[in-house]
């Protein structure tokens, strides 16, 4: 017998894997990587990172990889929203599942989208820059970070979709968060002593910064103690957001 959460995962995958979703998942980061990566290369020929000189496109690659859990999370949140819109939320709650299975079904799909999207971004990055990760252990660690990050962002968007009533508001809020988290992080530029203090504080309050930094180190440098701290921060935030999402979901109006 297939566990209920996996049946719900399969259902979510079947119902939500449409061209629009895939375009959002893959199209936007690919656009960043190809257009920004190549365009800014004229302005920033090389970035000095952890003792290596890498191209700007290479520097950007971990940023777009780390964006995948975020985008997948927003898709996860919209799944709950549309299930409520089309009446399936209540129908599934009277189905052969525990309530937590429904949440897990969405989180698992976000994880699949997140890791699948990241693999495609690695491919795009390779085609663009010719860079490959040499150590399997680093690839495994990146996947683990992406999986944990998926819990964080999916939980965040599940909370939003519980409280937001219209899809227009949901989309607007998602885009707003998307821009803040994306651009106030280390995805596009390094955060260092030259970064204004206010923006530095905002960037370090942004979980995406820790995800990008740890993925970047796993791609281009050797792992160090700060990466362990970054990963721990992501794990703790994911746990907190998951608890918050589970509590909010109990209040979700049917």
């Amino acid at each position: 017998m297939i566990p209920p959460s996996l049946r719900l995962t399969a259902r979510n995958l079947i119902i939500n894997t449409d061209p629009g979703t895939l375009l959002f998942l893959i199209g936007l980061p690919s656009f960043y990587l190809i257009v920004l990566g190549l365009m800014f290369q004229a302005l920033i020929p090389n970035v000095f990172f952890e003792g290596h000189s890498i191209s700007y496109a290479q520097f950007l690659s971990p940023g777009v990889v780390a964006m995948q859990p975020f985008i997948a999370g927003s898709i996860g949140g919209s799944m709950l929203w549309s299930d409520r819109r089309w009446g399936m939320f209540e129908q599934l709650l009277v189905g052969p599942f525990h309530r937590i299975d429904y949440l897990l079904g969405i989180i698992y799909v976000s994880m699949i989208f997140s890791v699948g999207g990241a693999m495609l971004m690695f491919l795009v990055s390779y085609l663009l820059t010719g860079f490959v990760i040499h150590y399997v252990v680093n690839i495994i660690l990146i996947i683990l970070v992406l999986l944990v990050s998926s819990i964080l962002f999916t939980s965040l968007f599940l909370v939003l979709s519980v409280f937001i009533r219209t899809i227009q508001t949901y989309n607007t809020v998602t885009m707003f968060i998307f821009f803040i988290l994306d651009f106030a992080s280390s995805a596009f530029y390094p955060i260092n002593t030259r970064t204004p203090i206010g923006l530095r504080i905002i960037s370090y309050a942004n979980p995406l910064t820790y995800i990008v930094d740890s993925v970047r180190d796993m791609m281009f440098a050797s792992l160090n103690r700060s990466d362990l701290i970054y990963v721990m921060i992501v794990v703790v935030l994911s746990a907190l957001f998951f608890i918050f999402a589970a509590l909010s979901y109990r209040k979700a109006k049917i």
């Binding site: 259902r11 079947i14 119902i15 089309w86 399936m88 129908q91 599934l92 709650l93 599942f97």
Partner: protein, 305 residues
């Protein structure tokens, strides 16, 4: 004695802590029985169903489904029941994919599912719509899909909350027959409707709810017998009628619906001449007049009013 599949004991449910939308409701349903829960909008039917199907917690009283307390065994209960909710629900996919996914959610073995999908597509007249997206279906077609998919999985008890809304009379009869056939094979059904003919045709026993309480219960014949000394005068009129003065003149149960007057009473022989005189005196033309034995509709009107 037949096994009790549903046992509701002094159930009271409230949304705001003060007003009880379900107020001291008790009933039972035996195995293989089709039990009708009737009532006008806001009578408490859907809240009762939502409690029995574990969506809402029990506030006061006891509810046992399939021998298990709903407060303690919600998940085990949900594995053995089917629920057709009043509100429409479907996945954003074709009719066929909706059915396949729903069957998969219930872990129906692939071969069994394939056969059952073909069966319900046929029974619910959805074969020609199998490739159509659910959101593009008409209201009645969506309802058919909603009812059809519930028969894909095995269950001991089926809750049907107004499942025939939007269906044409032929399809409605076909759905009712299908449900009746399943009940003969041992399925227990709790059925809510506002269409009395349906309840009369389908249900073994009926409870009428009003303002959160069960105000009458029994078989259709029992109810008609109990309130059966009632007869209904139907009058079709043309002209302006003062409802309040009519109500004063005939304090029996008078219902005026546009140009139709219905009076349910034990004493139609006495009332009828007076009514004709009353209408003529006010210059109201009588287009048609008839006296009928009580139907379940009349029983419902009598009990609820």
């Amino acid at each position: 004695m037949l096994e009790k599949v549903i046992e509701v004991d002094h159930l009271r449910q409230t949304y705001d802590g003060r007003n009880f939308v379900v107020d001291d409701v008790s009933f039972y349903v035996s195995k293989g029985e089709i039990y009708g829960l009737l009532g006008k909008n806001g009578a408490g039917k859907t809240t009762t169903i939502r409690t029995m199907t574990t969506i809402l917690p029990v506030h006061y009283g006891k509810v046992r489904i399939l021998g298990m307390d709903v407060s303690e065994n919600a998940e085990r209960i949900r594995k053995r029941i089917g629920v057709v909710l009043q509100n429409e629900s479907f996945d954003f996919a074709s009719v066929e994919r909706n059915l396949k996914v729903y069957g998969m959610l219930w872990d129906v073995p692939r071969e069994v599912l394939k056969a059952r999908i073909e069966e319900v597509l046929e029974v619910f007249d959805l074969s020609s719509l199998r490739k159509v997206r659910a959101m593009e279906l008409s209201g009645g077609q969506k309802k058919r899909l909603q009812v059809a998919r519930e028969f894909l999985h095995d269950m001991d008890l089926l809750f049907l909350d107004e499942p025939t809304v939007g269906l044409d009379p032929i399809m409605r009869r076909s759905v009712l027959n299908y449900i009746r056939d399943k009940a003969r094979k041992g399925l227990t059904v709790l059925y809510t409707t506002q269409i009395m003919e349906e309840a009369d045709y389908l249900c073994d026993r009926i409870a009428i709810m009003n303002k959160g309480k069960i105000v009458a219960e029994g078989t259709s014949s029992d109810l008609k017998a109990k309130y059966g000394d009632l007869k209904t005068i139907h009058v079709i009129i043309s002209g302006e009628l003062d409802y309040n003065s009519l109500k004063v003149k005939f304090p029996e149960d008078v219902i005026v619906d546009n140009d139709e007057i219905r009076i349910v009473s034990k004493n139609v022989e006495d009332i009828l001449p007076d009514l004709i005189i009353y209408l003529k005196a006010r210059g109201i033309r009588i287009e048609r007049i008839s006296v009928e034995e009580s139907s379940l509709d009349d029983v419902f009107l009598k009990v609820v009013s």
